[in-house]
Symmetry: C2
Subunit: 430 residues, 2 copies
């Protein structure tokens, strides 16, 4: 993508309402634009990151055997009245009357609708287990939306729902999702800390939340430091679930079961939550199957959520410096930028064009061909966090050199023009 | 994907409310489930088709130089009041009050919001032309939603918006989109007929609609038969725009400019619409740029829509037989099915497993391993319209044969097991 054809307006000034660093950086780098309180347009740069995260989440769901469908954003109130949550949910639910006066709502979550879909088609234990997910926009009418996409009103969430014959089977499904979540967060370049959690208004008996470590995180976590040492090739769900971990208001030092030198205190941001809630919804909404004795029994359900738009903010909180965002390679909007510092110089243009032609078929490339100052070009590429930057200047090119910069470390070195393709390809394919 | 792990409930009975064939087939094949009037859940099979169409639309937009962003579904009423459309739009607009009593709405289209985004960042003619698109769910509160996804209330649309300095430049952008639309519909396996259209409530002076031919179409079209003969490698926009074409209520035989033997009459379904509307929104919403004389001038805009969820229904109307759907290869939910007629037979299972292992890394495969009757397996695969079907039966396997069926023609022949991979790969990669 040529920067001159792109639509990525970077800003120098931080808007006053942006209190936290991710919100500031997302606005300054031209990732989002607020359209009304807690509601954002995703500009091209932001959308690329959102999609990259979405695709990793999707891929791990598919690998874990979950099947994707898509429920609508607007739901009828009927099912929520049946489940009893229409009154319970309170003002966070965006309630609407359509032109015929029917009560509808913008879905804040989907337990009711998915249970209805399930019960319409499945009626035998032979069709179990099932695990269905979707990635869809939700709306929660927060009383005070803030922190940009971290606590917006319209937000993108992956939510899935498991259906099993028994509690025992349901726990297997639950643990499979636990593992998928750990894998997902590791692939996103994050350190996930899993904590036993209260089930709250969703109900049920078993729940974990997933926090990722970030110096500027909103929660303070107390946890066994071994939780940070996860081997991505060998995830043992039972072991991870056995470690001590608690948020600050649940942590009581006098009752802490682990030794002080094993305990770590760090800041985190919640990005996922999983629940096993038994037959709460299946009983109310009639999701029964026949078991192998011919009896009709309610299915055991779990639900599992990852806040995808929230993750964009959370990852920035976890990975930035004073120059801007530092994207983990897997989710960077572009993996490489080719920065031509002298667009009017024929040699620079030739070298830059040549790299672009060779690399753009293989990788997501941002070709910075803008007519602006050298300073702006360099600072913009750091601000938007491109992992590898090939910087082309007039003097270097005469010596057959370019500058190669790694955003993660901010280190750069001169390398021969002939080596660039080879070095870059190796870095990306690692 | 193993059918036994999938979630694709086929039905024998046609629901009474499904009046048209695409609606009937989408419900019978388990592509969608109605959740309330005009609002559907996309079950896994339907979602795959929807995504395939979306990706082709996206690819042609990118190739034409449009840049993707994503605007939210919920908009503030403010911009619509500014443009004058908040009152004009009538009851089709889903109007909502949030918890603070602010007037918001579920976007039926995005001229206002995109113009606001544009004017926030662009202020020089040097940054033009720009063409921004998004693919997002919209809501129009139809008084009588019907025909399934063809006239739903919540629907997926690709809409884009071009911004130019002058009318002349805007027509260039308009024609580029015209060409992109023709390419898009051809890639979807359709025959597009372009017609000059009224601009209607969007305003402006130039507009075309795109209909695709379907025997069960809703409109009757009168057009020059040369319009059907488009060479996909050489699309001449001017020539296409010069042909005669009109819907029946605008066609007057006595004034028809072409000869009778050149005139064709056929049924069509509208799937796209493009507009040039000048400075209507830019003036009202303050989208001005400085021209090369330093004067502030309003930008010239166009908007362009393709109904993606509507296309799913339209394609089925254009491509089905009495057995079910016939998917064009490019958008089929799975390109190949491996149908094991005898799941308890060891040889059949071995052959089927072997094909699945070899093919599933390269293509989207549906492996029908369900425990159901032979008749149901064969009819389901025809109903859901899998283009190429490898049918594995006990007797054939003993003779080292399988049946290879092409859904388009319903012709099948026995081929040697050793040839299957080769033949299938050639068909798909054509």
């Amino acid at each position: 993508m040529k920067f001159s054809n792109f639509f990525s307006p970077t800003l120098k000034n931080v808007p006053a309402e942006a209190e936290i660093i991710s919100h500031q950086l997302m606005i300054r780098s031209g990732m989002i634009k607020q359209s009304s309180a807690g509601i954002y347009s995703w500009l091209p740069l932001g959308l690329r990151v959102l999609k990259n995260i979405e695709n990793i989440v999707r891929d791990e769901q598919n690998k874990a055997g979950a099947v994707e469908l898509l429920m609508p954003t607007i739901q009828s109130a009927d099912l929520w009245i049946k489940s009893g949550r229409y009154n319970e949910y309170g003002k966070e639910m965006l309630r609407i009357k359509d032109r015929s006066g029917r009560e509808i709502l913008y879905g804040p979550t989907n337990e009711e609708l998915i249970t209805d879909i399930f019960q319409s088609y499945v009626n035998s234990y032979k069709d179990l287990p099932k695990n269905l997910y979707h990635i869809q926009w939700k709306f929660r009418d927060e009383v005070r939306p803030r922190f940009g996409v971290m606590r917006g009103r319209e937000f993108l969430m992956k939510d899935n729902y498991s259906f099993d014959l028994s509690e025992q089977d349901a726990i297997i499904s639950y643990n499979k999702m636990f593992e998928a979540y750990i894998k997902t967060f590791l692939r996103l370049g994050l350190i996930p800390i899993s904590l036993r959690a209260e089930t709250g208004p969703i109900g049920g008996s078993l729940s974990h939340e997933f926090q990722i470590l970030a110096k500027t995180g909103e929660s303070t976590l107390y946890y066994d430091k071994d939780l940070e040492q996860i081997d991505p090739t060998n995830i043992d769900t039972k072991k991870l679930q056995s470690y001590y971990a608690a948020v600050d208001d649940l942590h009581d030092q006098s009752k802490c079961p682990i030794e002080k030198n094993q305990l770590k205190i760090a800041k985190g941001i919640e990005v996922g939550h999983i629940f096993y809630f038994g037959t709460k919804y299946s009983e109310k909404l009639g999701a029964f199957v026949q078991n192998n004795k011919g009896e009709n029994v309610p299915v055991h359900m779990g639900s599992y959520g990852i806040g995808i738009s929230r993750l964009v903010g959370a990852i920035i909180e976890a990975s930035h410096d004073d120059k801007g965002i530092i994207w983990p390679l897997n989710i960077a909007p572009f993996k490489i930028s080719i920065i031509n510092l002298m667009i009017d110089d024929e040699n620079c243009k030739k070298v830059a064009d040549n790299f672009y032609n060779q690399l753009s078929s293989k990788f997501d490339i941002l070709y910075d061909d803008r007519d602006c100052s050298i300073g702006k070009k360099l600072s913009d590429n750091d601000l938007i966090g491109i992992p590898y930057q090939i910087i082309i200047g007039k003097r270097d090119v005469k010596d057959n050199l370019v500058e190669f910069k790694v955003r993660q470390t901010n280190e750069s070195k001169k390398i021969s023009i002939d080596e660039v393709i080879n070095i870059v390809s190796k870095k990306i394919n690692l």
